[in-house]
């Protein structure tokens, strides 16, 4: 992370040369931890490359943003327990033909401060790592995006429900067990969704997946009690390593597993594949 910051520093220093003839603006914001108990975080980002991770030191949040100031304006509002970050379109200029993908938003949040996280982004390439954050609630909504979510470290506080609303996207979530969520809801429109059910499950959980059209790959660690129920019109299921009893497909060691995860799948068209991982 230090390295990234130094790179940002150099970028800022040489910005006049780099920005000649462009409308790019770079904004770096940070806020120190004060007497914060729990904060509600709302991040909105329309287009570009989004990175989210955990911050080191006594920083509550740090935001490095590069954006086209003819189209967007940064949002940074921290009042009470609400933190609103991101960019908003200002409706100035003619957007067609602009290279929106060049914008970047790099966010870091404090470890250990309980956060109710609400993320909304559109045509975004997102690399998000919630590892180390203390999430009390998670709502993630994407448009046409390519998103990789990782929870590389267990969430120190539990949450009742984590919600992922995915539009037309390539979406991959890793270490979902580390979310420490009682229930995970995935609502996907069209696209390729890969869910890794690895990580440290601290309790039994249920995963609800509602898919329109696309391919779903469930990567299940061996030893996890796993069962799946599928409802859908034209959905193929590759159920290798599962045993069907009634409406449910069970993993072979379901009854003996320490932690059990129930997946309830409702899909219209597409394919579902269960892959066992070590």
């Amino acid at each position: 992370m230090r390295k990234a910051l130094y790179i940002a520093a150099v970028t800022v220093a040489v910005a006049p040369a780099l920005l000649a003839g462009q409308s790019w603006r770079t904004v770096t914001m940070s806020h120190q931890i004060e007497d914060n108990s729990e904060i509600r975080v709302f991040v909105e980002y329309g287009a570009g490359h989004l990175k989210i991770g955990a911050a080191d030191g006594g920083v509550l949040y740090r935001m490095n943003l590069r954006y086209d100031e003819d189209i967007f304006e940064p949002v940074s509002d921290f009042s009470g327990d609400r933190l609103h970050l991101g960019v908003e379109s200002i409706g100035r200029g003619f957007n067609i033909g602009r290279n929106k993908q060049s914008g970047e938003l790099d966010l870091e949040f404090a470890r250990g401060i309980p956060m109710d996280m609400d993320l909304e982004f559109g045509a975004v390439r997102a690399d998000i790592d919630f590892g180390g954050l203390a999430l009390t609630d998670l709502d993630l909504s994407t448009g046409a995006s390519q998103s990789t979510i990782d929870i590389s470290e267990p969430n120190s506080v539990g949450m009742s429900t984590a919600r992922f609303e995915i539009g037309a996207a390539e979406f991959e979530a890793r270490h979902l067990g580390n979310l420490n969520a009682e229930r995970i809801e995935v609502d996907a429109g069209v696209g390729q969704v890969t869910l890794w059910l690895n990580g440290r499950w601290q309790r039994d959980a249920s995963v609800s997946i509602d898919m329109g059209l696309g391919a779903l790959e469930l990567r299940v660690p061996e030893g996890l009690g796993f069962r799946l129920r599928k409802e859908g019109f034209l959905v193929s299921l590759d159920s290798e390593g599962l045993v069907k009893r009634g409406d449910w497909y069970y993993s072979l060691d379901y009854e003996d597993a320490d932690r059990k995860v129930t997946v309830d799948l409702d899909a219209a068209f597409g394919s579902v594949k269960v892959v066992w991982v070590r």
């Binding site: 520093a9 910005a15 603006r25 770079t26 904004v27 770096t28 806020h31």
Partner: protein
């Protein structure tokens, strides 16, 4: 909390004034929030401190702005701007203490021209003043109170005294005092009869009751003062946001109410506001009276006037004239259509007469689809790029064409109505000559708008409002269906170019219409009879 802080601060101040031991230590303020914004024409730094203070320095469009004030100018790309951007480049990766140290250590770059050097010094001073803080620790035998003040140490006390309204007032109350003090904060003080207080007595947020003597001044802040009979103050009495509830004693140097001037000013402001409000109310009243008078003479709907009994007559006649003008305009349009496109008008009229239900359905469907078709057409033409010039014509002409079709349809239905009226034996329809389409169009227009005109006439008379409304409603229904049937007939016949929905040629009917006789002729029977006659012969 505030009370506690105030008490602590005031105690510290009081003790400081009493020349208690104190230490002064410089340190850096805590930066809680940092914002660095760098763009093509802007390089800005915004800091927020833990004590709610803030600093904003921006190099923007050739101007150097500190906390909203323009302090100088620079040339984009000059040495100063380069140095500032370099500083911000380092600031990006630092927070809080490291950031404060780095910023406060910044110094004027060497080799700057005079003007730029002065500007750089201004920026440097702003950074140092904002980032520095000073802590005074005031100690006495009984208490120890730390007070932290940000900014220049030279103005430390004045900053402290003016930090809030209360403290500013206290500073004013304590100004110029010398000698011994006895300060009481947040407690009541009684000077018993027969006792003497040496020096000045200061009571803050408390009540003072003087029965004995004070060998100095008495200062009361945010409290009350009672001077009982036989009491004596050898100096001055100062009241700061305090009240003198009883004055039976002796005050040798007089009494000063520090808020008296403020109260006088407040009273003056209040009376000024009162006068302004009264003046505004008077002006508003005058305006309302003038407006009411004007309305009265301008024959407004409300209120009584000499013209009131004739209002309904004028209104009714006016509406009637409007309808007659409408008939005239539509009739002329119809006459023009007959003159220039008589065949097409015939086709449309025939379709409307022969297939009124179908025409009405098509008309209503067409009406509903008008706006979607218009919008979709515009979008399709625009998206196709090639069709953009056509879209420019489409946008204004499509609504015009739709209106023209509606008017044409209505006129054609009026013509049919006129023909029907000519065949009828209703009174006042004898003037309609069926053979002349101009007559039939005007006659039909009168027929279609009869309900409206009857409503206009009835509106002149009192007590018939319901009937007037009913007739207006009937007229609206007739007009609606006439337009729908006519519009549908225009659509069905493609503006009179297709006659597949019109009647096929019926020679009997044509003969009947031509002879205007009510005789049924059986052609076969007639032919047989002719044959029999010829055989007989």
């Amino acid at each position: 909390m505030f009370k506690f802080l105030l008490r602590s601060s005031l105690t510290a101040l009081g003790l400081a004034l009493l020349a208690a031991t104190s230490t002064l230590e410089a340190q850096l303020r805590d930066v809680v929030s940092k914002e660095v914004a760098v763009g093509r024409s802007e390089a800005a730094l915004r800091l927020e401190f833990s004590d709610d203070g803030a600093l904003e320095i921006a190099f923007e469009d050739g101007l150097v702005v500190i906390d909203g004030d323009v302090v100088g100018m620079f040339e984009p790309g000059d040495q100063l701007e380069a140095a500032w951007r370099s500083l911000l480049g380092q600031a990006v990766s630092l927070d809080d203490g490291e950031l404060a140290i780095m910023l406060s250590d910044w110094s004027v770059p060497a080799g700057l021209a005079n003007d730029l050097a002065d500007l750089a010094r201004e920026v440097d001073r702003a950074l140092e003043d904002a980032l520095s803080s000073f802590e005074i620790t005031v100690s006495s035998n009984s208490s120890r109170a730390p007070v932290t003040v940000a900014g220049d140490p030279g103005s430390l006390l004045s900053l402290f005294l003016n930090a809030t309204g209360e403290l500013g007032l206290l500073g004013e109350a304590l100004a110029g005092l010398r000698g011994e003090f006895a300060i009481h904060v947040d407690e009541d003080v009684v000077v018993p009869a027969g006792s003497t207080v040496d020096g000045t007595l200061v009571v803050i947020q408390g009540d003072a009751r003087i029965e004995g003597e004070v060998d100095g001044d008495v200062i009361v802040v945010d409290g009350t003062l009672e001077l009982l009979e036989g009491s004596r103050v050898r100096g001055e009495v100062r009241l700061a946001d305090a009240r003198l509830v009883r004055n039976l004693g002796t005050v040798e140097d007089g009494l000063v109410d520090l808020l008296e001037e403020e109260r006088v000013n407040e009273s003056e402001i209040r009376s000024k506001i009162r006068e302004e409000v009264q003046a505004e109310l008077r002006a508003q009243l005058r305006r309302e009276i003038r407006d009411m008078t004007r309305l009265e003479f301008s024959d407004a709907d409300n209120g009584f006037s000499l013209m009131a009994p004739f209002r309904s007559v004028f209104r009714g006649v006016g509406e009637l004239v409007k309808n007659l003008i409408s008939i005239l305009v539509l009739g002329l349009l119809g006459a023009g259509a007959v003159a220039f496109a008589g065949t097409k008008v015939d086709t449309i009229a025939d379709t409307a007469r022969r297939s009124p239900g179908r025409s009405a359905m098509v008309g209503m469907a067409g009406t509903l689809l008008l706006i979607p078709v218009w919008l979709l057409g515009a979008v399709a033409l625009t998206v196709s790029v090639i069709g953009i010039p056509v879209a420019l014509v489409w946008l204004p002409l499509f609504p015009l064409a739709a209106c023209a079709a509606g008017v044409m349809g209505y006129v054609v239905v009026a013509r049919n109505t006129g023909e029907w009226l000519a065949d009828s034996e209703y009174p006042w329809t004898g003037w309609i000559r069926k053979s002349n389409p101009i007559y039939t169009i005007f006659g039909g227009l009168f027929g279609l708008m009869l309900a409206f005109m009857a409503a206009n006439v009835l509106s002149i008379t009192p007590f018939l409002g319901f009937l007037t409304g009913l007739l207006a409603f009937a007229g609206s229904v007739v007009t609606f269906f006439a337009i729908q049937i006519g519009f549908g007939a225009v659509l069905l016949t493609r503006a009179g170019r297709r006659n597949e929905w019109a009647s096929t040629y019926d020679p009997d009917a044509a003969w009947e219409r031509a002879m205007d006789v009510d005789v049924e002729v059986d052609v076969d029977e007639t032919a047989d009879k002719v044959d029999e006659d010829s055989d007989d012969a």
